[in-house]
């Protein structure tokens, strides 16, 4: 174990170096450019065996990675925002062909208006692609999740993206514990595929036309793979925890044991929220936090169990969703809870769009709101934090 100071970009690039993938095809975009730059340097210095393909767009990055994965290679890339949006069409193909792959993703908002700062609009836009999605709170989690996602992806035969918040994480230096290179290699093992496009003695046809008579069954089995992926994730998380002492679950429950009011969120805001929870707890208030690691597959069981004794709940979304009804995380949480006999009164808050700061006061306001609901105040079902109305 080695202690180092790394930004999330650096931490993810280091994870990539230690994974030593066969192929990385990537394109620069703020704020994930640094991952690609650092990795190119690893290639230039002979620290990895990777074939690096400096493509002309993110569409081609995802396409080249998908082709390489079909050829039996271990593949990775990095991107953000518009880059991920440009990959969208290909992401469905990677997942539909059941090919393993990992994207180191830096969560940045989408145009228009153009803005390079943090929110989750980009990854929320990709939530139906059939990719697993993991969200990191800090550099350590970004590093650990990338390594684990590679193994999960190869065992579940589904691609995965690990998301770290733009600038807040991508460009902030934090202390991390790094594994030894060989520990990462041993943990991952050799990449094996049941079929290989390059086996000319046993030719296969990948990506055929699939009509009314078979398409549905193929999508059904893909959906099942996503549903079953939670078992793979739990197994890999468990193995990682046992070997390296850092334990991950689909969700993190922070001071939830007797919590009556709680917040659900993803990513770096968890750090700020934990501090608010601590402060309120010191005042004797029964508050807690649920941080979601795995947004896809959606951890219904874990969420419902964690929230069953909560009376009032605030779901904080760093993306709008533009549904006119509530942002993506809110609708997902509320829908999960719908069939439960005992469930919290749930409110949605959209915050931090385009990198707007989220302060402890904002989070405290959510807990205060929830307290007022308990006292009979009528609250808007969905509202915004920190915006000028």
């Amino acid at each position: 174990m080695k202690v180092a100071a790394k930004t999330a970009n650096e931490a993810m690039a280091e994870a990539m170096r230690q994974i030593n993938p066969d192929v990385v095809a990537a394109y620069p975009i703020t704020p994930s450019t640094e991952i690609v730059q650092l990795f190119s340097q690893f290639v230039a210095d002979g620290l990895v065996d990777t074939e690096f393909v400096p493509v002309e767009s993110e569409h081609s990055a995802a396409s080249a990675c998908t082709g390489a994965a079909a050829a039996g290679a271990r593949v990775m890339t990095a991107t953000a925002s518009q880059g991920l949006a440009l990959m969208n069409e290909v992401l469905f193909v990677t997942a539909g062909l059941r090919l393993p792959m990992v994207i180191c993703e830096i969560a940045r908002t989408l145009s228009a208006p153009i803005n390079i700062h943090c929110d989750h609009s980009d990854t929320m836009d990709q939530r139906d692609t059939g990719w697993m999605q993991f969200y990191a709170e800090d550099s350590q989690e970004a590093y650990d999740l990338v390594i684990q996602a590679m193994k999960i992806s190869e065992e579940a035969f589904l691609p995965a993206m690990v998301s770290a918040d733009a600038f807040i994480l991508s460009h902030s230096l934090q202390r991390i514990d790094m594994l030894e290179d060989r520990e990462v290699q041993t943990f991952l093992g050799e990449h094996k595929t049941p079929f290989n496009l390059l086996d000319t003695d046993h030719p296969i046809t990948v990506g055929p036309l699939d009509l009314q008579d078979y398409y549905f069954e193929h999508k059904r089995s893909e959906a099942q793979a996503m549903k079953d992926a939670d078992k793979v994730i739990k197994k890999v998380f468990r193995d990682f925890g046992k070997k390296f002492g850092r334990n991950y679950k689909l969700i993190e429950e922070y001071k939830m044991k007797d919590a009556k009011r709680a917040i659900v969120l993803m990513g770096s805001t968890a750090g700020t929220a934990k501090e608010v929870v601590d402060t309120l707890r010191a005042d004797g208030e029964k508050v807690g936090l649920v941080k979601i690691f795995a947004f896809r597959p959606w951890p219904t069981e874990e969420i419902n169990k964690a929230l069953k004794d909560v009376e009032c709940l605030g779901v904080m979304d760093r993306a709008e969703g533009m549904s006119g009804f509530g942002a993506p995380l809110f609708t997902e949480v509320r829908s999960s809870l719908f069939d439960e006999k005992k469930k919290p009164d749930t409110y949605g808050y959209v915050y931090g769009l385009g990198g707007r700061d989220i302060t402890p006061e904002d989070i405290r306001k959510v807990f205060d709101d929830l307290k007022m609901v308990k006292r009979g105040k009528k609250l808007q079902r969905n509202s915004y934090l920190g915006v000028r109305e």
Binding site: D22, V23, A25, D49, T50, E51, V53, P54, V55, E56, S57, H59, S60, S63, A64, C65, T66, G67, A68, A69, A70, A71, G72, A73, V75, E89, V90, V93, L197, L198, D199, T200, P203, I204, T205, V206, G207, P208, L209, D210, L211, Y214
Partner: protein
């Protein structure tokens, strides 16, 4: 390098019969000839289009070589990734064989929507051959104009009407655009000149680096001619010099087939329903313009060859 008919006749077809292409399909011939030239240790990538649709309806496949289809515009990027994977795995000793990598795309997937990915893949220098089967329109979606559609042709999105006589723009010269990428080998071929085409495929595969061939592959459905005339139509395109057969090897142009008896382009146009309106009153000028363009291009090509460029 010669292609021997006697030897070819003993070879197994790697693009199997039983696919669902139309009778008289030019592109199906283009694939079959390319695979006969490349042999079984070939991995094929395919862009969305007619040939992708007719050759792989699940659970059937016409491909006796490994095949991958991803999307419409990304076959060049997909095969560049396959090539990177191949290099990585070969370096590790996981793959021993030498394998040919061929990306196929129609003119829509190559001249238009896939041009960026193609340009990128060629510039990056992947060891791959890209073959564009050019049937001069989006045939899979029902004969819409592409940038490869010739001037004057009527398609469903450049129809000849009361005031507009078919396509009003000249076709894009993709062959020269590819040559401008300064890659080792670029060629124009036609399914009617199978020996020339297959020799070009073999030559391309013998050269390391990115290669590009565009093969003229008539579509009876979209061009409105008799389906038994596919080879004749391709042949007349060459003989009228509408479709010159040439190659650009390391930047040097060389005409590979100089038709002995040149026919007027009008002879070729009049066999095809897509040009029928040009033979009506008032449109004769368009045929003259086409002939001038064809002559001009041929002269330019001859000059390039003469001066060794």
């Amino acid at each position: 390098m010669g292609v021997n008919l006697k030897e070819l006749s003993k070879q197994e077809d790697l693009f199997a019969s039983g696919h669902r292409a139309c009778a008289g399909c030019g592109p199906a011939i283009a694939i079959r000839q390319a695979l006969l030239a490349s042999g079984k240790d070939t991995v094929v990538g395919f862009s969305t289009g007619c040939m992708e649709v007719v050759s792989t309806i699940f659970p059937y496949t016409a491909w006796k070589v490994p095949y991958i289809h991803s999307l419409f515009e990304n076959v060049a990027a997909t095969i560049s990734g396959v090539e990177a994977g191949y290099k990585a795995l070969k370096k590790k000793g996981k793959i021993k064989k030498d394998i040919n990598l061929i990306a196929f795309g129609g003119d829509g997937g190559t001249y238009d929507i896939g041009l960026q990915a193609l340009s990128g893949a060629m510039e990056r220098g992947h060891n791959m051959l890209y073959i564009c089967y050019d049937n001069q329109a989006y045939m899979n979606t029902g004969i819409q104009r592409s940038s490869a559609t010739p001037y004057g042709a009527s398609t469903t999105t450049s129809p000849s009407g009361k005031v507009i006589p078919g396509k009003t723009r000249w076709r894009k010269d993709l062959t020269e655009i590819m040559a401008a990428h300064d890659i080792p080998y670029v060629a124009q071929a036609s399914i009617s000149e199978w020996r020339d085409y297959m020799s070009k495929v073999q030559k391309a595969l013998s050269i390391k680096g990115p290669k590009f061939i565009v093969v003229f592959a008539p579509c009876q459905l979209g061009w409105y001619y008799k389906k038994e005339d596919t080879i004749k139509i391709a042949d007349m395109a060459v003989k009228s010099r509408f479709w010159p057969l040439y190659e650009v090897e390391n930047g040097i142009h060389k005409i590979t087939k100089d038709p002995k008896k040149v026919i007027p382009v009008e002879e070729w146009l009049k066999l095809q329903g897509r040009f029928r309106h040009l033979f009506k009153n008032g449109n004769k000028k368009i045929i003259e313009e086409i002939q001038e363009k064809v002559d001009g291009r041929w002269e330019k090509l001859k000059k390039l060859e003469e001066v060794g460029l």
